[in-house]
Assembly symmetry: C3
Homo-oligomer: 470 residues x 3
Amino acid sequence: MGKINLNDDRFFEPDLDTRSVARELYNEVKSLPIISPHGHVDPEILSKNKNFSNPAELLIIPDHYIFRMFYSQGISLESLGILSIDGTYIEKDPRDIWKIFCKNYFLFSGTPTKMWLSYVFKEVFGIDEHPNENNAMVIYDHIQKLLLEERFRPRSIFDKFNIETLCTTESADDQLVHHRAIKESSWQGNVITAFRPDSVMNIESKDWLNEIGKLSKASKITIDSYKSFISAIEDRRQFFKEMGATSTDQGVETPFTQRISDQQADEIFQRALQGESNKNDQRIFIGHMLMEMARMSTDDGLIMQIHAGSLRNHNDVIFRKFGPDKGADIPLTTEYTKNLRPLLNEFGNNCDFSLIIFTLDESVYSRELAPLAGHYPSMKLGPPWWFHDSIEGMKRFRKRATETAGIYNTVGFNDDTRAFLSIPARHDLCRRVDSNFLAEQVVRHVLDMDEAVKINHDLAYNLVKKSYKL
Amino acid sequence: MGKINLNDDRFFEPDLDTRSVARELYNEVKSLPIISPHGHVDPEILSKNKNFSNPAELLIIPDHYIFRMFYSQGISLESLGILSIDGTYIEKDPRDIWKIFCKNYFLFSGTPTKMWLSYVFKEVFGIDEHPNENNAMVIYDHIQKLLLEERFRPRSIFDKFNIETLCTTESADDQLVHHRAIKESSWQGNVITAFRPDSVMNIESKDWLNEIGKLSKASKITIDSYKSFISAIEDRRQFFKEMGATSTDQGVETPFTQRISDQQADEIFQRALQGESNKNDQRIFIGHMLMEMARMSTDDGLIMQIHAGSLRNHNDVIFRKFGPDKGADIPLTTEYTKNLRPLLNEFGNNCDFSLIIFTLDESVYSRELAPLAGHYPSMKLGPPWWFHDSIEGMKRFRKRATETAGIYNTVGFNDDTRAFLSIPARHDLCRRVDSNFLAEQVVRHVLDMDEAVKINHDLAYNLVKKSYKL
Amino acid sequence: MGKINLNDDRFFEPDLDTRSVARELYNEVKSLPIISPHGHVDPEILSKNKNFSNPAELLIIPDHYIFRMFYSQGISLESLGILSIDGTYIEKDPRDIWKIFCKNYFLFSGTPTKMWLSYVFKEVFGIDEHPNENNAMVIYDHIQKLLLEERFRPRSIFDKFNIETLCTTESADDQLVHHRAIKESSWQGNVITAFRPDSVMNIESKDWLNEIGKLSKASKITIDSYKSFISAIEDRRQFFKEMGATSTDQGVETPFTQRISDQQADEIFQRALQGESNKNDQRIFIGHMLMEMARMSTDDGLIMQIHAGSLRNHNDVIFRKFGPDKGADIPLTTEYTKNLRPLLNEFGNNCDFSLIIFTLDESVYSRELAPLAGHYPSMKLGPPWWFHDSIEGMKRFRKRATETAGIYNTVGFNDDTRAFLSIPARHDLCRRVDSNFLAEQVVRHVLDMDEAVKINHDLAYNLVKKSYKL
């Protein structure tokens, strides 16, 4: 009772024929190197390579998947040690935080968080029992002891995880000191960045002027006009590219795209510099900047990613107290057919340009995204994102997208995680779900076995390497 | 041929492993008492405890699930004895109505109506054959004879059904005479009410002034201003609570919420008193009243329910001839992320407040509702409602909501029925579908068996008791 | 390796019980005659009955399902021999086109295109291997040789396919010369038309005046007013009906309906005659004309079809170079509850009127379309259309629509194809998926076997015959 069960056939269909084919397919890809082409691991972890401090700081405090679920059940973020920005007292003792985590661990039943954590506990830390109120401190002490060992330092874990490439995400002004340090070190791990200029695009944000200042400093370009802003962006893209980046990313509330004239863009930009821009200005400016980012990608070859449709910081109370990324970013209905049309008409027929689209609105898989990706040469579908990076979420994606977009207009898996230790758990889950999906098709005589073997290898490794130019 | 087949394994996956686990899980919950925390049974049935008159009046005439399907196939509502409000002649002979029902019974193939009716015929009335043109009168006479027996009087049926609590729904001005009569009787059945003030909120409705008059009379408060209206609402909530209510309910076309000032509210209210309000006034007023109802719930502890997204009385012809609730309420696209934001920002972090949300727009399960319920401590997800209270509807709900919201941000089952005799059929269907869902997770090694047993018991009994404070 | 596998159990669930029931159900319907009540085969093929020229012109060039997928992977339409309208040079050698097709055939893995083509290659041409780079020319020569034979001429194929009725689609001005020629020939094949007046409804289109001219000529009515336009439409409907048509069809971006006065309609019409109408005029005019088409259908008994929700010619570059129907029609969010309300209120209660609705927005199946069809006597649901005419698409339709709309508010299968040779492949796929869907219900004890047998026969043959008055 309470044993962690990493059954060899987990996540496969119960039917024995499908299960047997799934197992065969999975066994061929399970040990392939991990390519993580998009995510949010802090590169400092790998440049400094310091031991992780304790189980709570490693596994709970940085993981909004975990604390949002606790919060939804009435457990305060303060008690979980989540850093407040308004000076509210928060729990400091990692052991007390760990106790709450273990006591309420049952809340994750049926969620991907539990599946990832089970993998981490068992495969990474050799723990046999699910956490609960009684074993909380035994598990804590066990993990704490391991974290002091050399083999549990970040680079050792990275190597043990068989990660071929890990891509992080940095803002436009980042000097990439950690990436440089890693590159210049004797360690061979391949850690690259992706260019994410959201903070300098959100002209309505209170922080925007400050962000422009940082961009100006980083690019050594005085930014006093739309034109100089574009130059600074181009400069930073160039720097990121030289540092190994192969992609950019943008998080937008809507994927609205529209070209405006440089003069109109400058008018909006000047208003923003005066602190006078409004929500509509921002919408138009970002719609235009998506066009410009596509133009730059066509020029410099960086893959363009768009993550659309999240209303960030839905909960004002939490935002004021704890800041962003506290599990209160909530998806919105998201329209792609009309919104992406200007961008796809201008750049979508250009085979030098590559656009990867992510969504939180699953109703668009079959209605909008698969038909678009099944037509435009430059557009590909990113894997299920965030809440949908789960067994059922991945199944819905494959079942709704494949018949129209095919396999080769998708790009393999992204783990998109901040939780470094969960990387192999997430890739393993995806490899299992994909193997299972293909096995179902084999048993139903939709795919031949040799076809399924090839596709599975492409999904687990080749497609991501090709799509992200890695 | 035509035998009613209530197979022990009905509604379970065909695969033998899943089926065996589902059966085991189901057997542990099938006999648990029924808690019906939200529905529309007429309490007069149980206060008067008179014998039901005849099969047509018992099973067909009150059930819009049944007559809407017949109407969609060209069978007139007149011929089914549905009471007209414009004096149109309707069929009076219950035997003729019953004949039409039996002859066209095949139209329910594959619908939940057939599954519920099969249960009622077999388990409640001991009938072995599905109705058809030939056996119509035999079945009629059989049921008619039973209805005269003591053991088929409403309270006997209630007791036999093992109903622990039945919650009905009454409008704001209701004096709850039947609830009082039941309470004061020697019968032990627990029948409580829920407060549903829709008719006094719909300021644009032609009946509104009349409804305000009834509210005024019931509360003994002269309602001539927004302020006195609020007092009257608070007064009635208090009365309902004293009579045992633990919840309120509101049916709204959109879950739009927005606080306006008391002065603005009063201006709208005064216009309404003059019969001058319009669709936009109503939208703003209801948006504000949802905020106020949340405030009151925070104060008095009544659970707040919102059923959103139905365009009522879509068919004008039918509405003019037969009135509301004739199977012509049609769902709409419904937005929750932006619409509920004001309410959740003001009350959603308050653990004393509890909000249960229902939807007819399944695309929001994974996109909006599960992420919201997986964050805000006060928000929970109601079960699949109305058209989605079905095998496939429940499966979609569990598969789309669980991975993000978990199990414990849901509230168990509501039968939401007017059809008293169908209550155990509906709960049994849900217990089977939940057992089957959990069995699939066990066989796929997503859940351990002991975990599934506990969750299944929570879904069938504990969660509803806790969520509705019963 | 690479063998075409048309396994007897293909597309059925893997579980042996379901598979066995599915096989039994399928065997009862697999040889029923094909009724194709809606599609786009060119009737000239059957009136002229000439040998098909070559494999590329037969299978690739007319099939946008095929070339859109190739285009999405960077293969130019020019290289596939797609006729340009701007004089761009295109590939002329069918053998070179065929080579590209075979080399890239793997792109169809998991798509319905592959399932249909496998059937065509194996069942129609007796080919045992999937096309690839190596066998391309062998297959080409094999097919080319067969195409010269008498038994591969169109009428012979039609007869061999066991097509009882084939319905094509013609524009309002069509003289139906091919239909007349077929009717007057000694050949017994039943090929009828459907009336599709889109080109004369799209008043904003540049071609509209030209189309009105053609309509005027065909109807011998001078069209200088809304009134004469209506007369011309009525005249053509009458002609189509006399020629055997039983249905009309309209493709609209939105199913918005609204009656305007004849005077308003004439004002819009006069503006259009002056070349001065705009997007809003068109929306209002088409919304009104849907009402008028419903009125005419109520009068003349033609079944009314609406295919809504496609943004045609999304890709301007391709549209300017190659014209319409190049795989760049992309679905949109589509609203039916409010949009169809005026039409359904005016005509939906009339049992003489029959409206069949198609959608590309699957989120409306359970939310809007099934509830509407489950209420209004005149409204029925068309089968999954276009991108959703696929295994998973059909499953989603049945699982989401059946519980609310029942079986008898649906109308059986449409192949909707331009690809003559794929007709039996498409019907066979649907019969398999329906058999499998019903088998699942039998094994889960939702349906009895005799019920499933009857429903399956209705879905494969009776419903389409009755719904389209064939």
